[in-house]
């Protein structure tokens, strides 16, 4: 579980603008947690604070009962991984070298055979085995994102020894992906839940969010506006207020939560 307790994040000094204002959120262990909110609400900042990348101006983040600030950098990197929206590479490397970076926190000077094995199994999981020697920049956007997914999977590889708890953070990971890649990526992430891994994702597509999210947090104006563990609880009024769109639920879908249609 990731506990965000009373987190305030300011930019520009002690009296600066509050991007996050006293946010308390508990991301459940081994659940698919989703953060929603309009642009500029502070979603990504909340995610960056939760990953330990940004230090909050006030409040704390705990993984289990351990403050994230108490982790050593390499130890934290073996515990949690982050998949960003779009990662460019400054120089071309073959796909398998990019995935191997996920193992960097695990070895000193040379990768062990286990590291190599995890790299090939990660590539297999995302279906990129046949492109492992191809240069990363020559891949399509969707393929690049699959490689990044393989990299973060390798970083917190938990499929053999699930006794250690791992955390996967996704920061709008599907923005540049077509619908097939989107669902594939989120499915792979969801499969990790069975392997002692907690997933926290910032998503933009509300329908996708409601489909995958087991615990949904709505952020608005730097504050937690709403949270629920049942997507069907989300009301049209809430969506209209937070996202400033008209929302209608259409159909009921096989999963009983229906699909939303939005208009201005």
């Amino acid at each position: 579980m990731v506990d965000v307790v009373g987190v305030t994040y300011r930019v520009g000094g002690p009296n600066g603008l509050r991007i996050l204002n006293d946010v308390t959120a508990r991301f459940d262990a081994c659940k698919f947690n989703v953060i929603l909110g309009p642009n500029g609400a502070g979603k990504s900042t909340l995610l960056k604070v939760a990953t330990g990348l940004l230090q909050p101006s006030a409040g704390a983040v705990r993984y289990g009962d351990r403050p994230v600030a108490a982790f050593r950098a390499d130890e934290l990197a073996r515990t949690r991984a982050v998949l960003s929206q779009h990662v460019e590479l400054a120089f071309p490397l073959p796909v398998e070298d990019v995935v191997l970076m996920g193992r960097y926190p695990h070895y000193r000077s040379a990768p062990t055979s286990r590291d190599r094995d995890i790299v090939s199994r990660s590539l297999e999981l995302v279906g990129m085995t046949d492109k492992r020697r191809q240069a990363y920049p020559t891949l399509s956007g969707g393929e690049q994102q699959k490689v990044q997914l393989a990299r973060v999977l390798a970083q917190i590889w938990n499929l053999d020894d699930a006794h250690e708890h791992k955390y996967l953070f996704l920061d709008e990971p599907t923005t540049s992906l077509d619908v097939h890649y989107q669902l594939h990526l989120l499915d792979v992430a969801r499969d990790l839940l069975a392997h002692n891994c907690t997933v926290v994702a910032v998503l933009h597509d509300l329908n996708v969010a409601f489909q995958y999210g087991q615990h949904i947090f709505v952020i608005d104006g730097g504050k937690l506006a709403y949270e629920t563990s049942r997507a069907s609880d989300i009301s049209a009024e809430l969506i209209e207020r937070v996202f400033r769109v008209r929302a209608t639920r259409i159909g009921d879908g096989a999963d009983g939560q229906g699909t939303w249609r939005f208009s201005l």
Partner: protein, 363 residues
């Protein structure tokens, strides 16, 4: 070369380097046969009795040729590794110590000691003795590099156009300072402005070889620990942080390491531009952009290239010698322009090339 493993590539480069070292030791105004070289080395090591017949030849070989060959190789290794480090830190294939002001700052610092070393203005350097030159070279190089780095970085991203412009400005200021110092200098050696601006190995001695060797070995060993971190930095600073790399610490430490070895080498041989640009570039095309490979690879290829350049410098206009920097510029400037032009289409709206600059390039 793509098919070779990293280790096989090192062996190949090392073998070529060994051949060039022997060739470089043999060729010149005084040429030596392999048998002569072995005999001189044997005498120097005390295994063979000294004969007065070839005392002159031995002296030339041991006191002039050998230090020169070794200093050239070491300097090449320093500049190659430095180019690799700087390109990794700036995430751009166009950076190298000559362009980023590091070498020019070092030359200015060193020239200060050469010209004013004995005067009261710089009397604080007296206790430093013979290392005053590299120490002040380091101060100058560090100040110049940090200035260029700060000017070209905003919000953690490097703007390569600002970087090049800042490099031009800092190089101009340092060059003017060094030029002024050589103009007012009394010592004829310090007056030799081509020494500072174009680099030469004619003044090589064992003291210089030892100094560069020790600092190169330490700095190279230290930087080898950061191969993985430099790779991770290719993803950007945030992604590197998620992999446990503290980019700020990394950048500061590697700039210090880089500045130390470049300033020591520059204090001995002057400014030699473009080697740091060419060496990683060639290795990326031939083999890989993986820094765990590029660091040792660029030490070997840097040494190799510098031996080659030094041989050319000695034989192209006998009996005179060409300054090293002329040859490296002739080879390096076109490569520099080529890289710059290849970067154009990726510039987007024109403001900045940040990460991704070297991507679509080698492959």
């Amino acid at each position: 070369m793509r098919r070779l493993s990293y280790r096989q590539t090192y062996v190949l480069l090392a073998a070529l380097l060994a051949v060039l070292l022997v060739a470089s030791a043999a060729i010149g105004a005084f040429s030596f046969t392999p048998a002569e070289m072995v005999r001189h080395l044997g005498v120097a090591a005390g295994w063979l009795p000294a004969t007065s017949a070839d005392a002159l030849s031995r002296n030339v070989f041991l006191e002039l040729r050998l230090p020169r060959v070794l200093l050239a190789g070491l300097t090449g290794a320093v500049l190659g590794v430095s180019g690799t480090l700087m390109q990794g830190l700036f995430r751009n294939p166009i950076v190298e110590p000559g362009l980023a002001g590091t070498s020019a700052g070092a030359a200015l610092g060193a020239a200060l000691v050469f010209v004013f070393g004995g005067s009261t203005a710089l009397s604080f350097t007296a206790p430093l003795g013979s290392i005053a030159v590299p120490v002040l070279a380091f101060v100058g190089a560090f100040a110049a590099t940090m200035l260029v780095y700060r000017l070209s970085t905003s919000f953690g991203k490097v703007n390569v156009f600002t970087l090049l412009l800042a490099g031009i400005a800092v190089n101009a200021v340092c060059g003017a300072g060094t030029g002024f110092l050589s103009y007012v200098a009394r010592d004829p050696q310090a007056r030799n402005i081509t020494f500072w601006n174009l680099g030469t190995f004619t003044t090589a001695d064992w003291h210089g070889v030892m100094l560069v060797a020790v600092f190169f070995a330490l700095c190279f060993a230290w930087s080898m620990r950061y191969g993985k971190a430099l790779n991770a930095l290719m993803l950007g600073e945030d992604e590197a942080a998620f992999l446990g790399v503290d980019s700020r610490k990394l950048i500061f430490r590697l700039l210090v390491v880089n500045t130390i070895m470049v300033s020591v080498a520059t204090a001995m041989v002057g400014v030699i531009a473009f080697v740091g640009l060419i060496v990683p570039h060639v290795l990326r095309i031939l083999k890989s952009s993986d820094y765990t490979f590029l660091l040792p690879g660029s030490a070997l290829l840097g040494a190799l290239l510098m031996e080659l350049v030094d041989i050319v410098a000695r034989i192209i206009i006998p009996p005179a010698e060409l300054p090293i920097g002329i040859i490296t510029a002739v080879i390096g400037a076109p490569i520099f322009l080529w890289i710059l032009l290849r970067q154009q289409p990726q510039r987007g709206t024109g403001a900045s090339i940040d990460s991704g600059a070297g991507a679509g390039f080698y492959g």
